[in-house]
Amino acid sequence: MSTHYPALIIVVPLLTAVIVAAVGWINKKYCFPLSVASLAASLLSSIGLLFEVMKTNGEVVYRFAGWEAPMGIVYNIDYLNSLVLIVVTAVALINLIFSKGSIENDFPDKEGVFYALYILFTTGLVGMVATGDAFNLYVLLEIASLTGYALLGIGNERSPLSTLNYLFIGTIGATFYLLGVGYIYIATGTLNMAEIALIIPKLPNVGIIKFAFVICMVGLFVKMALFPMHGWLPNAYSNAPSSSIGLIAPLTTKVTVYIMVRAGITIFTPEFTFEKMHLDKWIVWLSVIGIVMGSCFALAQKNYKKMLTYIVVAEVGYMVGGFWLGNKLGITGSILHIVNDAAMTLCVFMAAGIFSYKIGDHISDFKGLFKKMPFTMTAFAVGGLSIIGVPPTCGFFSKWYLVSGGIEAVKATGSIGALAFIVALLFSSLVNAVLFFRIFEVAHFEPFSEGHGHEGHSAVEINEAPLGMLIPFFIVAFSLIFLGIFSGDIVSNIINQFIPVLPAGI
């Protein structure tokens, strides 16, 4: 059983998606438990896999149908994969339980199909994280993208157009990645990531690999909405239904950042990525601009969901910049931020789900919310503080690693880009503080607007979100503090085991 964990993580949800779509026609009652069961099986397999990786102290290799590496497709699971796998499956499972009510509300006759799409999307993401084959990654990327378009396109009346624009941009990104893989294949003759990494240092002429590298990275940057290519994200995300946005917003960008880390370290090898390419400084600058612009745009929004989407754009800048600092602390911060930001984004988008379920999306509607929904607002406050980066929550720790990585890069090379990165991080934390304290202020101090003008003396009725939403929401809010307290253990036991010895002098 345990030897088949890497396959089970993908195969169970893949088959369940088909079954759920069929069951949806017969009896809708069984769709939800089936979906939860499949994602729970996936989550348990990923946790088992992490222990397996720790036991074998390195890597679990799964050969599909027993074919060896260059011929068949191989799934290589190491510390980084297994960590991100747990994050993806856990976020998908919690958001599914959280969204049960709103899915039944929003899509009364299409529940089966929605659950099938939801599980297929998760399958695509999980496969992207687990695979050790560059072309297999493209196929799973497109599975996740296509189901993602469908999940985003069923939102409000503007969603089809914004999703169509996302589809155009997303297809450009994925096709660029495919083109890059083609050039890697021309140069190395293999598609297996581990083999490519072995062949690249031996190649006499690296020009073609440089070209492939640039094209792959441009494709991934488009997909992850790094600053100049971010235009599709805010509209597509803010028009989507809250049940699917809780899945897509925390995971899509983070999994793409994971692929960037995987490509930079495992496929192209760190020597090539950081020493031969001479792109790192430019990309750090790009992420600096991304962080600053994302924060500024977020400040200009009056709609809560739209504000969050610009925060997502800024957070992508954090992770990309941290990775391209090219030192151990920066890469640690970047990987830790993949985990923490998935949890943080899930938390604030869950709050968005509850708000739009109960009141609305505009920040001016939030008056008196602390009295009306005390529990929801408490958990939301934890999420907001984590995005700002206040110490007991996890957001502080990944920012700490990112800033220390920046300081080390400044010390080592004196690069101005790294200095700008530190300044941008601090600036963005400041802006996030303004953003969330503005909401806290409206929700705490301003009385209700409608009806009675008696200065809030009338007893406020508590009108909480249903328990089925509150419990998953609290689990996520606690996990933010939990991840923060145990971030040292995560870094020393998992992330540091993954990061290879980096070439000196960068």
């Binding site: 072309f135 493209y138 196929v139 497109e142 296509l146 378009y149 469908a150 396109g153 009346e157 503007r158 089809p160 157009l161 999703t163 169509l164 589809l167 155009f168 297809t171 450009i172 096709t175 495919l178 083109l179 083609g182 294949y185 021309i186």
Partner: protein, 126 residues
Amino acid sequence: MDMALILAKANYWGYVILLLIGLYALISKNNLVKKIIGMVIFQTAVILFYITIAVKKGGNIPITPHGKGYVVEAANFMNPLPHVLMLTAIVVGVATLGVALALAIKVYKQYGTLEEDEINAMIREQ
């Protein structure tokens, strides 16, 4: 650059030109269906690129005849792997086209037009 070098790499020139035509249509056309056509051209360019790198001079289709004593020499056959990869990529392309057209139909039902500037004007009026 001399003519011989351009001709020797004709397949690359071909795919790059197709790629740029597709990208141009995708970015600058106003009509959503024209954009979708541009997207398909863009994807097809990459598919053709993969197919052309599999070709060998004098290469045959990669099917070996039955019979004893037949020695397989890779140099006599075209590389089948890019073809297999592109079968998958074609399926992906068709699925993307399907989703794009479905979304375009939804947009048309909503606004009664597929011209992007007209739709944007309608959104601004709301």
